[in-house]
C-alpha cells in the first residue's frame, strides 16, 4: 500500500495521540479506506479488514477451483479431437487452465491460506466452482461453444478484475486474461469452421450454441437485486461492475459475433432496443441456476468425483515425493554439516 494510505495512517495516529489497539486498528482501517479510494493496490503484508480478506479468499479460491474443474469438460474431448491441429490447440488450452489454477492458488495463498486447505474445501463441497462446468460436453462443437461463450463470459467478468484492489489477484488476472482471449478466439474459429462445413457440422455447431447460451449468461451470477456480495465487493473495488451490467455487455458483444458465425442465439425475445442502446433479451431460468448451484446440475457429482479420485489416487505419489525430499534434504544437510566439521 503506497503513499496516500501511509499519509492517512500517520495523520490519524498522530491526532489520536498514544495509540491503543482500537486506535491503531482505526488508523489501519482509515489507511486501507484511503488506499482503496485512491485506487492503490493492497498488498499481502498490508493491513486489511478481516471481511475483505475472507471475501477475497472465497472469490480467488472459487476462481482457482473453476479453472481446475473446468479442465474436465474440455479434456473429455482431447482423445477424440478430429484433427491433430485441433488436438494440439485443445491440449494447450487445458494445460493453460491448470497453469491458471496454479497462479490463482498462489494468489490465494498470499492471504494466509494454503492450496491443500483450499483443495480440501473443494473436495468436501465447502467451496464452490463456476456453475457452468456442471454441464456436459456432448459433441465436438461443445469445445468451440465453451471457447466462444464460456471463455467470452469469463473474459467479460475478468477484464475488470485486472484493476481489482488486491494486487496479487489483479496481476494474476492480467496474465490469465491474455491467454483467455486467445482461447476465446480459437473457440470462435472452431465454431466458424463447423458452421461453414458440412450440413452435419453446421447442425452440430448450432446445437452446441443452443445448449451453452443460457448457462453462459448465468455465469455473471444472480440479478443485481439478489446478489448478496455485490455492494460490499464494489465498495472495496474487488468488483467494478454489477452482474447485470456485465451480462448486458456480454449479450451486446455476442449478438454480432453470432451473426458473423452464421449461427442463431436461442432466445426469441432477443432484439435491439434503440432507446437503451442495448439488446433486450429473454428471462433467465433462475430456478435452474439455483439447482445447479445446489449440486443438482447434470454433472456436479461426476466433476467432484473425478477431482476427488485424482487426488486420492495421487496420494501415494505426493507421499513418495515428500519422503524422497525429506530423505535427500537430510542427506544433503548432513553432508554439508560433515564438510563444515
Amino acid at each position: 500500500m503506497a503513499t496516500a494510505a501511509h499519509r492517512a495512517a500517520r495523520t490519524h495516529t498522530d491526532t489520536d495521540g498514544p495509540a491503543g489497539d482500537t486506535a491503531l486498528t482505526t488508523a489501519y482501517q482509515v489507511a486501507f479506506d484511503a488506499a482503496v479510494a485512491a485506487d492503490e493496490r493492497i498488498e499481502p503484508r498490508d493491513w486489511m479488514p478481516d471481511a475483505y480478506r475472507s471475501t477475497l479468499v472465497r472469490q480467488i479460491a472459487q476462481h482457482a477451483h473453476s479453472e481446475i474443474i473446468g479442465m474436465q469438460p474440455e479434456a473429455n474431448w482431447i482423445t477424440r479431437a478430429p484433427s491433430l491441429r485441433r488436438k494440439a490447440i485443445l491440449m494447450a488450452k487445458v494445460q493453460d487452465e491448470a497453469g491458471h489454477g496454479l497462479y490463482l492458488y498462489s494468489a490465494a495463498e498470499t492471504l494466509g491460506t494454503g492450496r491443500d486447505e483450499l483443495l480440501d474445501k473443494l473436495h468436501s463441497g465447502r467451496q464452490k466452482y463456476s456453475s457452468i462446468f456442471n454441464y456436459p460436453t456432448l459433441t465436438w462443437a461443445d469445445v468451440g461453444a465453451i471457447g466462444w461463450l464460456v471463455d467470452g463470459a469469463a473474459i467479460t467478468n475478468q477484464v475488470p478484475l485486472c484493476r481489482c484492489s488486491y494486487g496479487p489477484y489483479a496481476r494474476a488476472m492480467v496474465r490469465i486474461c491474455k491467454e483467455e482471449s486467445f482461447h476465446q478466439r480459437q473457440g470462435y474459429e472452431l465454431l466458424l469452421a463447423l458452421s461453414r462445413g458440412t450440413p452435419e457440422q453446421h447442425e452440430m455447431a448450432q446445437d452446441a450454441v443452443n445448449r451453452w447460451w443460457w448457462p453462459s449468461l448465468m455465469m455473471f451470477g444472480p440479478p443485481d437485486d439478489e446478489s448478496q456480495h455485490s455492494t460490499q465487493s464494489m465498495a472495496w473495488k474487488i468488483k467494478r461492475h454489477s452482474n447485470d451490467e456485465l451480462r448486458q455487455r456480454f449479450v451486446d458483444i455476442c449478438v454480432p459475433q453470432a451473426e458473423s458465425l452464421g449461427l442463431t442465439l436461442p432466445d426469441p425475445e432477443l432484439r435491439w432496443n434503440e432507446e437503451r442502446g442495448h439488446h433486450d433479451f429473454g428471462p433467465i431460468d433462475w430456478a435452474e441456476f439455483r439447482q445447479v448451484l445446489k449440486g443438482n446440475g447434470p454433472c456436479n457429482e461426476q466433476r467432484i468425483d473425478q477431482r476427488r479420485r485424482a487426488h486420492e489416487e495421487g496420494a501415494w505419489v505426493r507421499e513418495a515425493a515428500a519422503a524422497y525430499a525429506a530423505k535427500h534434504t537430510t542427506e544433503a544437510d548432513s553432508e554439508a554439516g560433515a564438510e563444515r566439521a
Binding site: 481446475i68 479442465m71 474436465q72 479434456a75 482431447i78 482423445t79 477424440r80 479431437a81 478430429p82 484433427s83 491433430l84 491441429r85 485441433r86 488436438k87 494440439a88 491440449m91 494447450a92 487445458v94 494445460q95 491448470a98 497453469g99 489454477g101 496454479l102 492458488y105 465436438w140 472452431l190 469452421a193 463447423l194 462445413g197 458440412t198 452435419e200 457440422q201 473425478q306 479420485r309 485424482a310 487426488h311 489416487e313 495421487g314 496420494a315 501415494w316 505419489v317 505426493r318 507421499e319 513418495a320 515425493a321 515428500a322 519422503a323 524422497y324 525430499a325 530423505k327 535427500h328
Partner: protein, 243 residues
Amino acid sequence: MTAPTASTAPVAALALGDDALVLSHRLGEWAGHAPVLEEEVALANIALDLLGQARLLLSMAGDEDELAYLREERAFRNVQLVEQPNGDFAHTIARQLYFSTYQRLLYGQLAAGDTEFAGLAAKAVKEVAYHQDHAEQWTLRLGDGTADSHERMQRACTALWRFTGEMFQPVEGLDGVDWEGLRAVWRKSVEGVLGRATLTVPEGPQSGAWTAGAGRQGLHTEPFGRMLAEMQHLHRSHPGASW
C-alpha cells in the same frame, strides 16, 4: 522428391511419427487425472511436444490427418511400448523413462547425421532432454520414496521391460544409426537411473513372444485397437469434412 532416400523415408517418418503420436495420445488421457496440478502441466507439456514432433514427421510421409485418422491398426508402425495403457503413475513414468531415454539418444544421432531428419531431430532433442529429465526425477522420487512407491515403481519397470528391445530394431531409412551402440548406451543410462532410484534392473528378455520388431511391422497389443477406435471415431464419422 529429389532426395536419394525418398523411397524409404516415409517408412522411417511413419515409425518415428507414430511413436510420438501414440505416446502423446496416451499422455493426453491424463488430463484432469494427474496426482498434482504441476503434473497436469508437465504431462500435457510433454504430450504437446510429442504431438508437434508427430505432426512434422507424419507430414513428411503424407497428410498428417489422413495418416493419423484413417489408417487401421495393422498399418501403424509405432513400437508397442508407447501404446501401453497408462496404468498407475509409476507405469506412465517407467514408459516415459524407457522411451525418452531412447528418443534422446536416437535424435542425438540423427541430429548429427545428414538424413532429412537431422533438422527435426536437432530441434526435438531439446524437448526430449526435458522429458527424460522429468522421467528420471520421478523415477528417483518413486523408487526412493516410500515402500509403497518403491514397490509400484519396481513393478512398472519390470512389466514394461519386455517392450524395450523393439526400440533397437533397425528402422528402414534411418541410415547411419548405430542400433547396437544405441542399445548399449540406453541400457547403461537406464541402469544408472534405476540404480540411483534403489530399483533393480529387470531381468528377462527385452521382447515378448512376438517377432522382434512387432510394432514396427504393424503387429500391436490388444489395447491399441481400442485406443485408435476412440481417437479416430469422430474423424471417421464425417468423411471428407474439414475441422
